[in-house]
């Protein structure tokens, strides 16, 4: 039986000046279904969702809510009609309590006084009815990302939303938290609530969505029930052509010189303990583990960004004391942090300024920058890694997410650095950029650069790494040699969680 459409967007076109971002898009969501909206960065997903949410007005086209034409003026207008959105940046007021956040802007009042008791009671009842283990009086800043997400879900439910848009909800969630979110989504679905689910993770789409709509260059290029398609097809729809999976070729590193060795590394005031690891020239080692396994901490310990309690780091078989990133950089070591906006790039500075930063030191004489050398460096990186920008003078914050990530990685890739540590190198980037980043990494390995890559995506590690080290609760629990054929994803997963 065909379910009725809760929302129907017809012939939506949106132009920004001469640029057409959405071109005659027809899009509908049925009652009580989970619809995955897919597309590479810049495909028009967020513009479409902003139109649905009343943030943008379409240039042409119409929206019907349960068969009646509507026009939302702003997000408040949208949620009054039962359409709400959970943004990737969880928009909560951190220093207020859970209840105050849920009732933000519509506080329960007795006279002129905010009735906190009633708000707490109502919120607790709501949270309990959803089976969320959250205290309504707790301050939001003390909660985990997963709980914050639950609060937003609870808020949308309390607003009696009938359609919820979730933008990259799992980008900051751990494995088990993601599973819990899927449970919540299923529960919402049973209540007849429709969900538009946006994610870069293909597996999630198959785990949670009923139907998938793919946007490319502002047009709907495919629409299918999830059970009728597979990952390969989805990726092809998204980028417009077939992709070949990168496969690691088996290499023998036993004869290669050792570049980095960790001996009994212990984190100061932390849980990462007793790490022994060897990295050889041109070798790519993957760090697998669930969130909280200590992958980020380990990388930062090697790089001098996290204090050591004890242990020795050997570079070229000589012990080295690396206690600041500056020393690591001096040893020609680079680090791509997990969050490019927070730690990787200065978004208000230009592409060129960001790319040149790690090498300014060696490209200056007596403190004065050698401008031609720096310019050559920037051109080399921008052209070599196809960072799309109008010029190196463009603000890096104005680039697409994928290109920003390429720059965050590219700043270490001039050829000067010989050990590069990656923390989630493809997090939150679209499939196109992802494949370009894989090319960058493979090319580096061919140039005998040694790398350690921490990633949540096991396939990624299997595609890129010669060896995969599994961390659990701050310790190395297993090591896999990746010969490109025999290793299976379940094997690694078992070691991660088992």
């Amino acid at each position: 039986m065909e379910k009725t459409n809760i929302i129907q967007m017809r012939g939506i076109t949106k132009k920004f000046g001469p640029v057409t971002v959405l071109d005659n898009v027809n899009f509908s969501v049925r009652q009580g279904e989970v619809l995955a909206l897919m597309g590479a960065n810049g495909a028009g997903k967020s513009t479409l969702m902003k139109i649905l949410n009343g943030i943008y007005t379409p240039t042409s086209g119409s929206i019907e809510l349960k068969g009646l034409p509507v026009a939302f003026h702003d997000p408040i207008d949208a949620f009054r009609h039962g359409v709400s959105m959970i943004h990737q940046e969880l928009d909560l007021v951190e220093n207020l309590s859970v209840a105050e956040n849920i009732y933000l802007g519509r506080e329960l009042m007795t006279g002129v006084k905010v009735d906190r008791t009633a708000m707490y009671a109502e919120t607790q009842a709501l949270l309990d009815s959803l089976n969320f283990d959250i205290d309504a009086t707790a301050e939001v800043s003390h909660l985990t990302t997963a709980k914050k997400q639950m609060i937003l879900v609870a808020r949308t439910v309390s607003l009696s939303s009938e359609l919820i848009v979730m933008d990259e909800p799992t980008s900051a969630l751990s494995f088990s938290e993601t599973k819990a979110l899927f449970e919540i989504i299923r529960m919402l679905k049973e209540k007849g609530i429709s969900i538009i689910y946006i994610s870069h993770y293909l597996e999630e789409i198959f785990a949670v969505a009923d139907r998938v709509v793919v946007l490319r260059n502002g047009q709907v290029v495919a629409e299918s029930d999830t059970k009728d398609c597979d990952e390969q097809r989805l990726v092809e729809w998204m980028i417009g052509h077939a992709v070949e999976r990168h496969k690691v070729k088996q290499k023998d590193f036993s004869a290669s010189p050792e570049v980095l060795r960790l001996e009994a590394l212990n984190q100061k005031a932390g849980y990462v303990r007793g790490i022994d690891l060897t990295l050889r020239e041109g070798e790519v080692v993957g760090l697998a583990g669930v969130v909280g396994a200590g992958r980020t901490e380990l990388l930062r310990m090697i790089y001098g960004a996290e204090e050591l309690e004890s242990g020795t780091v050997y570079l070229d078989e000589t012990p080295c004391k690396i206690d600041t990133p500056k020393i690591a950089v001096g040893h020609r070591m680079g680090f791509v942090p997990e969050d490019r906006k927070l730690e990787g790039l200065a978004l208000i500075r230009s592409v060129g300024d960001n790319l040149a930063l790690p090498e300014l030191d060696i490209r200056s004489k007596a403190g004065v920058i050698d401008r031609s050398s720096v310019k050559a460096l920037i051109d080399k990186i921008v052209n070599g890694f196809h960072i799309k920008c109008t010029s190196p003078a463009q603000l890096i914050g104005d680039l697409s997410g994928g290109n920003q990530q390429k720059a965050a990685i590219g700043k270490w890739l001039s050829g000067h650095f010989r050990i590069i540590l990656f923390d989630q190198p493809t997090r939150g980037v679209d499939v196109g950029s992802k494949s370009e980043i894989y090319d960058m990494i493979n090319e580096l390995a061919d140039k005998k650069v040694s790398m350690i890559i921490a990633s949540d995506e096991i396939e990624e590690l299997m595609d890129l790494c010669d060896r995969i080290v599994v961390l659990k609760k701050g310790q190395i629990v297993h090591e896999f040699i990746n010969d490109g054929t025999s290793l299976s994803k379940t094997e690694i997963l078992e070691k991660m969680v088992g």
Binding site: F16, Y303, A305, T324, P325, K326, A328, V329, G330, F335, P337, L342, E343, G344, L345, A346, L347, I348, R349, S350, V351, G352, D353, N354, L355, A356, L357, P358, L360, D361, S364, G367, V368, I369, R371, V374, K375, L377, I378, D379, S391, P392, A393, D398, K411
Partner: protein, 367 residues
Amino acid sequence: MILSRQPELLKQTQLLFQRLYRAAVCMKTAALTAFQIGKEFAMSSGNQLGKNSGVLKPILKNREFTIFIILLFMMVVSAIVSPTFRSAGNIANIFNQNAMYGLMAIGMSFVLIGGGMDLSIGSTSALAGMVAALMMRDFGSVGLGILAALLVGLVIGLVNGLIIIYLKLPPFIVTLGTMYIARSVCLAMTKAHPVSGFPSWVVTVGIGKWHGIPIAAAIWIVLAVAMNWVLKRTKFGQYVYALGGNEKAAWLSGIKTKTIRIFTYILNGLFASVAGLIVVYRLMIATGDANDGYEMIAIAACVIGGVSMNGGRGSVIGSVFGALIYGLIVNMLQLIGVSGFWQKAVIGAIIIIVSCIDSLSSSKKRQ
């Protein structure tokens, strides 16, 4: 009655139209010149790393260019409205009178671009000036005075930097504290008695001219150009930008962010000292309550000149334009006889208007 006054009225109206026409012509010329220069800037595309070279490139960036145009426009309008303004003497005066603010704004640019804040420089400059004055009065040594003044600036800057970095306190609070402490020391040192009796030639540095060039202004402009070069062309300068752009990213890129930050405060202290010296040389007297609130004028000059309060953006040259705009407004209001009480209101309005233009143009870009 009315009839008899008609010719005069006609004459006045004619005169008014003549002036307006002249103003329009001037503005048109200014706008065209500006457009040409602007095109050149656009071609040479500013001064960030990795761009092609252009003749004017090191000096200005788009934002500085906007502020330069505003300055030019204000000068043209002032010149038309007031004949006194046009005299070479008056223009030289504007430069000279604002040298101390401009000098402070140089150091302040570094602190603000690095993402910091410093409220202490008004007091620092007063204390530095006072110490120099005592040296000159009691030992008759100008050189010793300069050294002592610079030492005061260096120490206060260093203390500010160390407390901010190692005790991890907000710069606003730390420098508010040192502002009061320095002021107290300055007053207590002489029990609030003014200090005077310096070698008479130092006044030349304060207000004198050399071949028609006002000396204090020359010191300011030369130092500003030099420090602008430091900001744009040296590793240190680029690190200051990186620090203000994203401190964590800068640290992870192998930059000694703590050292760089401390240096910005030291620079600010040193430039406050130089400004303090200039004030003493001008007035030939040092008082405990001197230079009160100058830090705000320096901040205003930076903000008008395009230095971002959030760090990561701006230039020393911008702060020079900012200080000149400030001086120009004060000068014009005096010339056309507006009460001094209204000066600050106008300055305040200018700060807000300039920031509005900035935020509008950048939000337009974002769309």
